[in-house]
Amino acid sequence: MNPYLVPGLIVVVLVTVGIGVYGLRFARTTSDFLVASRSVSPAWNAAAISGEYLSAASFLGVAGLILRYGVDVLWYPVGFAAGYLALLLFVAAPLRRSGAFTLPDFCEVRLGSPLLRRLASVFVVFIGCLYLVPQLQGAGLTFTTVTGGSYAWGALLVGVVVTANVALGGMRAITFVQAFQYWLKLTALAVPVIFLALQWQSDGRPAVTPQPGATFPVATTVVLEQDAVVDGVPLEKGQQLSYDAGAPVPKVSTVDANFGADWLRPGGDGSLFATYSLILATFLGTMGLPHVLVRFYTNPDGASARRTTLVVLGLVGTFYLLPTLYGVLGRIYTPQLLMTGRTDAVVLLLPEAALGGGHLGQLLGALVTAGALAAFLSTSSGLLTSVAGVVFTDVLRAGRGGSIRDFRLATVLAASVPVLLSLYVSNMDVSRVVGLAFAVAASSFCPLLVLGIWWRRLTDVGAVAGVLAGGGASMAAVLITVLGPPLDGWLADAVGQPAAWTVPLAFIVMISGSLLTSKRVPRDVGATMLRLHAPETLRA
């Protein structure tokens, strides 16, 4: 095992706790404690939002998808960044001015309907759990890759650590901790990539897609863990395959991947419908993620919420330049992942595979592992805090009289479902599962927020109907994808990437439902709109 690994991970945890303790010295009131201090500058706030947002799916999953499928999946990083532009254009400033802390709060402020509030809570919990699953998957995968232990133990270990952390109040939403995590994640990918590029240069710039197909850079031995057809020859479980350096990488029937021109050029076997569905889900889904919205409350006013979002767009955009390079270089230095199907591990394995097992390779390997740890610690803590908060106030109905014990119970409840699910769906791509969470958010909260902010005639009945139709349909599609049997043909596309039909459905139902019940438009809609849109300087 890599000797730098354990010290690296300990340093990450110590620095995180250290900054947290340092940050606590500034927290004086309860609201300071919950949302850091409201006097945080846009730059710090933006780094904190980015730190919480860039999860295991971004850190490990995007590079893995690119290694596997090539240019078609570049839409994932583009969409993950573009979501913040949609948030900026339609939601950021008015949402901050509404004074809502969570999505259920916004429903209460805008439409004053307890039913809608409860429905929104259900969706926050569902999306939060769905988003937690890939974080734990990433943790399990990292644990297996780095220590050779079992996947389940890794996922369980991180699940328990994060739950204990949130339940005991060890890692609250402290702005400085999250901001530090962003810079750590950026460094952990940016520094190794410089050395990787230099290595690629000194190797004589090997082609990413050589003519006869991908080849092994060094002699490699693979053990089959299940029956598979390798290059047309059926083989049984337990068989050992050895390849010399320079031998072509065979195609394995159980691993779905693109090769040659399919990988290099757009429009391989991914259909146009799936691509547009993915674009719609990621562009519109970001605004509905529970842990993202909470952070906007930290801005002092609407104008600074807008500036913060712009800085987030810059920070996130900078980060997403890097996973693409890992995916491409992984094609050259770690082609064996295309056989095993564990492509999500490419970021962790690439430094040592390309630079050799010397001190440099090991140091950089420890650095990316530390970054991965930061990725799932920060995102899952933020997510679990938001989900547990909603379970605490809206499901357990604890309200103001709720005790700390109730909050801890809520945390354990909120964590148990995703931990169990992560054990079950270990073979799904991390980024795919995250894409599903975005699809649900885009078909439930996006219409609710956009119409709630810009359309006076929205009614509570219309909103409930729209969320039930769009959100319900996408939720069903997700459950079928994760738990159901594999599907074929157009049905597979429509269920696997539902956003292209569920988002328009939600908008249409919400608008027509509101028009049909136009008598139920809240009487104070004028005052609400004034509050959402007028600059704070006019409030005397």
């Binding site: 960044a81 254009l89 339609f90 146009l272 693409t324 007028a534």
Partner: protein, 138 residues
């Protein structure tokens, strides 16, 4: 009538522009308040006040939709382009295939540029609105 008021007010903004930067003492601002009719309209939800807010909302929504259209045509049309004209996907620039360059590298500065333009123009809309409310009554 309310709409007329809105249009007239908008044309009034430009000649009034220097007034916006004036620094007013708290005392002077308090003395001016009874004459600040637009502000009262806004707070008391009169039809004029409502029309003023509607005007601001319309301006902000139009700006957001226009910039969203820029992104939809700039980025959203790419999959269709690659599907309709597969030759475009094979063009190489600086030794890199065009789709990789467009999506992996250039899309991010494009998004940031659109966001920057939005923040600038949205803030200008709000400043105009504040100037409109705060303008001294003739």
């Amino acid at each position: 009538m309310a709409a007329d008021d809105d249009v007239k007010a908008k044309t009034d903004v430009n000649p009034e522009r220097p007034a916006r930067t004036r620094v007013v003492l708290g005392e002077a601002a308090a003395r001016r308040r009874p004459a600040d009719r637009a502000g009262t309209d806004l707070a008391e939800q009169t039809p004029i006040g409502e029309a003023l807010v509607k005007g601001l909302m319309r301006a902000q929504l139009a700006l957001a939709l226009r910039l969203a259209l820029v992104v939809v045509t700039g980025l959203g049309a790419l999959p269709l382009l690659f599907a309709v004209a597969p030759g475009v996907g094979g063009v190489k620039l600086f030794g890199i295939y065009l789709p990789w360059l467009l999506l992996g590298l250039l899309s991010f500065p494009f998004l940031i540029g659109v966001g920057w333009a939005y923040v600038r123009w949205a803030e200008r809309n709000e400043q105009d609105f504040v100037a409109l409310i705060r303008r001294p009554e003739q």
